[in-house]
Amino acid sequence: MKSLVVAWVWVLASLGLSACAHHQAVPRDFGRIDSDKGISTNTDLEWTIRHEPSKDAASEPGDNLGSRANHLLTP
């Protein structure tokens, strides 16, 4: 009887309590870890530039209405 109770308590601990009780643990092997903030990050270190903007864009006058095609077709 005593061993049955011990086994039952073990099952309880495994299925229930261990699923609920948690202590601090940090993700391992994942990027840059900041334990104080509770985060780790694996963000790209920089932008991947596929195409650079034209350098004289700031001097172009006026608004457009959201269409790149309109802008590109302007003579």
Binding site: V5, W8, V9, V11, L12, S14, L15, G16, L17, S18, A19, C20, A21, H22, H23, Q24, A25, V26, P27, F30, G31, K37, G38, I39, S40, T41, N42, T43, D44, E46, W47, T48, I49, R50, H51, E52, P53, S54, K55, D56, A57, A58, E60, D63, N64, L65, G66, R68, H71, L72
Partner: protein, 223 residues
């Protein structure tokens, strides 16, 4: 053999039901809307067009996390309260405005150098991670931003953050939301800093002016 009338066994049975049941009920995951505690600066009125909603590239779209038992068996779902793709675009637009950018909708008039930001959500998932006697809750947030301008810029960048929460009861809502909030705060800060950095690199981007991003309408559309 079993003597079910035994108070000890009845107590154990009741404890068993109570302690394990917590892992079998779904959890409501609140998508955090608060801005950064320490806002980034440097928008300087430059124009940014935020496209909402972000594209949904998650493998699992019908839930935002799960509950597991001590054997890592999937026992219940964590369900997002709202559309995470709309939410991400909104919190980014809000934070960019706080940073000092002029945030516009795609159909608003804008300068050729305005930075257009399109995003995609590749992962949003919160789950318990079990050790033998220890563990934590981890929230994975993976966002890709693609930016462009009418003047020819094309660039992209991935933002992948884990937020975690330990030392608490995993099967109640609070720690799930805390883990997600931490991941969200970090992702948001990294996205905003990246946009500031990119626009500083190309000063010809983002001439100021135009009408503001209408968050109220976006929120209404999200509901």
């Amino acid at each position: 053999m079993f003597q079910l009338r035994s108070p000890l066994l009845l107590l154990l049975l009741a404890t068993s039901l109570l302690s394990s049941a917590c892992a079998f009920s779904n959890i409501d995951l609140t998508l955090p809307t608060r801005g950064l505690e320490h806002p980034v600066t440097g928008g300087n009125g430059r124009q940014v067009v935020v496209v909402s909603p972000f594209a949904d590239e998650r493998e699992t779209k019908w839930r935002c996390g799960m509950q597991t038992n001590g054997y890592d068996m999937d026992t219940a779902d964590a369900v997002c309260q709202g559309d995470p793709n709309v939410w991400l675009a909104q919190i980014l637009a809000n934070e960019l405005r706080t940073t000092g950018f002029t945030v516009l909708t795609p159909d608003a008039p804008h300068k050729p150098g305005a930075l257009r930001v399109e995003g995609s959500l590749a992962k949003l998932f919160v789950e318990p991670i079990h050790g033998f006697w220890t563990g934590s809750l981890e929230a994975d947030l993976f966002v890709r931003l693609r930016v462009s301008s009418d003047t020819g810029l094309e660039a992209d960048r991935g933002f992948f953050v884990k937020g975690w929460r330990g030392g608490q009861i995993a099967s109640v809502t609070g720690p799930y939301n805390i883990a997600l909030d931490r991941a969200t705060q970090q992702t948001l800060e990294e996205m905003v800093r990246a946009i500031v950095e990119l626009m500083d690199k190309y000063p010809q981007l983002g001439d100021a002016g135009g009408s503001s991003f209408d968050l109220t309408n976006s929120e209404a559309a999200a509901r």
